[in-house]
């Protein structure tokens, strides 16, 4: 598949500003005074649980719904009052949205036809776009003759064919199987970079968001909890919600003392250094937990320390494995290289160590739920 050079930066990328956007559905607050700015050519992924307002944000930007308050500014122009048809935005939907009665080529050319582009030009452009997504040979097929992944690629080509100012992706990969999803995710990123279009990507899949975006916005109850590059969202979550939602976290009881938190005898730095002293729950990533030694002698100091426990489950994940260790009063998950984890079996006695990465703490939280943030 080759990228068509003609498509590259077909238009100058624009800045998108959402200012003070609010949206209510009866008593339910879907969006609560949201401010968000997408830099020109940037891809921002909005991530969050169901009902957090991410899709509402995208629909307000697309003009498919009206905001109760606030403004949508694209390229310095206030488009809040414009209908969806006049907003000049390409959109790919979660559900398959190709027009079933049209061929792939006709689907891609549909927007150009509405813009009264000549038949020859729209055919040329449609084939360019199909070439961009690697489906030019399927141009004369109907959507029902394509796989789900191919349909979404055609939908992407159709959205880009009109040279929109902004590209909106509403969970476009969620209906696909895992392998196709990963392939198409990379494809979308490649094309987005190639075209250089400002893009808003909505997903509930944290892996997808972290892999594809320039910045990730984690949303909760209609508000942005954190907007930052993926590595920062993961390694320096702004709130305990972000820490728990993005990736897995062990919830371990600890005590803040002098700007540090002491967790099971380990001194760990705090993300928020001004946390007052006292009992807290520390959120520790599984990859920060490592194996200090296995098979400690019972009765020795190592065999009865606060980080000594029994392996109760090993989950093979490929290059790494997740090992769950019962420490007696709580359970801890450690993400270890598979080569290291394969030496363990359920029932093995191990001693763990915690890497001194900065951790978030939530005061007064219940550490009973030992592991927070299920992976999507």
């Amino acid at each position: 598949m080759t990228a068509a050079p003609e498509t590259k930066a077909a238009r100058t990328a624009v800045e998108v500003r959402l200012e003070d956007l609010s949206r209510h559905y009866g008593p339910v607050v879907a969006l609560d005074h949201l401010d968000l700015t997408l830099e020109p050519g940037e891809l921002i992924a909005l991530l969050g649980p169901s009902g957090c307002g991410k899709t509402t944000t995208l629909r307000l930007l697309a003009g498919l719904e009206d905001a109760d308050t606030g403004r949508v500014v694209v390229g310095g122009r206030d488009i809040t009052g414009l209908s969806a048809a006049k907003r000049d935005m390409g959109m790919v939907f979660q559900a398959y949205s190709l027009f079933p009665h049209m061929t792939v080529r006709q689907n891609v050319a549909f927007g150009l036809r509405l813009r009264k582009v000549s038949a020859a030009q729209r055919d040329k452009r449609a084939l360019e776009m199909l070439d961009l997504v690697g489906l030019s040979v399927q141009a004369d097929r109907y959507p029902h003759q394509l796989s789900g992944g191919q349909q979404q690629r055609v939908a992407l080509a159709r959205a880009l064919a009109i040279e929109p100012q902004v590209l909106l992706l509403d969970e476009p990969l969620s209906a696909l199987d895992a392998k196709v999803r990963a392939q198409l995710r990379d494809e979308i990123r490649r094309i987005q970079l190639d075209v250089g279009i400002t893009t808003l990507f909505v997903t509930h899949d944290q892996e997808e968001a972290l892999a594809i975006a320039d910045r990730v916005g984690v949303m909760r109850e209609g508000r942005l909890e954190q907007l930052a590059p993926p590595t920062e969202v993961y390694s320096r979550p702004a709130t305990s919600f972000v820490a728990e939602f993005v990736g897995l976290s062990n919830r371990l009881a600890g005590e803040v003392r002098g700007g540090e938190v002491i967790v099971r005898g380990c001194r760990l730095p705090l993300v928020e250094r001004d946390t007052p002293d006292g009992q807290v729950v520390a959120l520790v990533r599984p990859e920060a937990v490592s194996l200090a030694s296995n098979a400690p002698e019972p009765g020795t100091e190592a065999g009865s320390g606060p980080l000594t426990g029994t392996v109760i489950a090993i989950t093979f994940l490929g290059a790494t494995s997740r090992v769950t260790v019962d420490l007696g009063d709580t359970r801890v998950m450690a993400q270890l290289p598979t080569s290291e984890a394969s030496a363990l079996t359920a029932g093995s006695r191990v001693v763990l160590a915690i890497r001194p990465d900065p951790v978030l703490v939530s005061a007064g939280a219940d550490p009973a739920a030992a592991v927070a943030g299920e992976e999507a």
Partner: protein
């Protein structure tokens, strides 16, 4: 060891084959029952039709064969009634007008309700299905004064289309609703809107082409209804084909043309059904 294996396998294989055998026997009995039911109902429907065809081919003497009645369709005129051909024309025109008006009324309304005012869908469904619950005679009584007014302006039987649209609503609604529910109307329309389509374009170029089979079904049901409607036309003193056939039968009870015309109308509806079914199947060939 072999014997042990064999003994061990026997009950299992018997157990496995028993349900299959039972299943096959049950299936045979079910098939036989189906054929019997199909034959009985086939005869029930076909015998009157065959009798009608036979009567339409009855010669001047009882028991002889003739195609005179079929030849007369174009020229027959009973006493005190207009030519048969004119009532056929009027009925066909009524079918066209009624189906067009019904579709023009229902299709945009249903799409709009689905897209923009979902909360109205129950009300629209209720109103559309309401005519099913109202007997024709009640409709006639209610519509009588209105038709008295209409007849001041036009005596044409084509004016029956007003009431026929009401009668066709429930059938057309059900057919269209089935078609609409088979496609993801909100997503398709939002996709089209995001590409720059107006609401009119969304309906005409995106939604309607995808509900072509449903539109054809609604068309067929409307035509069938209009071709066979007698009560209202007769009571409101209009002459459509069924009313004309009834008038002929009263004046000349032995006229084979009644049967030839009825058979022709039936064949026409059947051919129409075939055409519409074919058109519905081949829709993917165009776009």
């Amino acid at each position: 060891m072999a014997a042990v294996t064999s003994i061990g396998e026997t009950p299992a294989s018997t157990a496995a084959s028993r349900p299959r055998g039972m299943h096959a026997g049950r299936k045979r009995r079910l098939n036989a029952f189906r054929y019997v039911v199909f034959t009985i109902f086939g005869l029930f429907f076909l015998l009157p039709l065959l009798a009608m065809v036979r009567f339409s081919l009855e010669g001047a003497k009882l028991g002889t064969w003739s195609v005179t009645a079929w030849k007369q369709i174009a020229s027959y005129q009973g006493e005190g009634v207009p030519p048969l051909l004119s009532s056929i024309e009027i009925t066909l025109e009524l079918a066209v007008i009624t189906s067009v008006v019904t579709l023009v009324l229902l299709v945009p309304t249903m799409i709009w309700v689905r897209l923009r005012v979902q909360w109205l869908s129950r009300t629209v469904e209720f109103l559309s299905l309401l005519p099913l619950t109202i007997p024709a005679i009640v409709l006639v009584v209610g519509l009588g004064p209105i038709y008295n007014q209409i007849q001041h302006y036009s005596l044409s039987a084509l004016m029956l289309f007003w009431v026929y649209v009401i009668l066709a609503l429930p059938y057309a609604y059900r057919a269209l609703a089935a078609g609409l529910s088979a496609i993801d109307v909100p997503t398709l329309s939002e996709a089209a809107r995001s590409l720059g389509a107006s609401w009119f374009t969304v309906m005409v170029r995106v939604i309607v082409p995808n509900m072509r089979p449903a539109v054809l079904n609604a068309l067929l049901l409307t035509w069938s209804l209009v071709l066979g409607e007698f009560t209202i036309a007769y009571l409101l003193l209009y002459n459509n084909l069924p009313a004309e056939l009834y008038a002929i039968s009263r004046n000349t009870p032995n006229a084979g043309v009644i049967f030839s015309t009825s058979t022709a109308a039936l064949l026409f509806a059947f051919v129409l059904l075939l055409i519409l079914s074919y058109a519905g199947r081949t829709r993917r060939g165009r776009g």
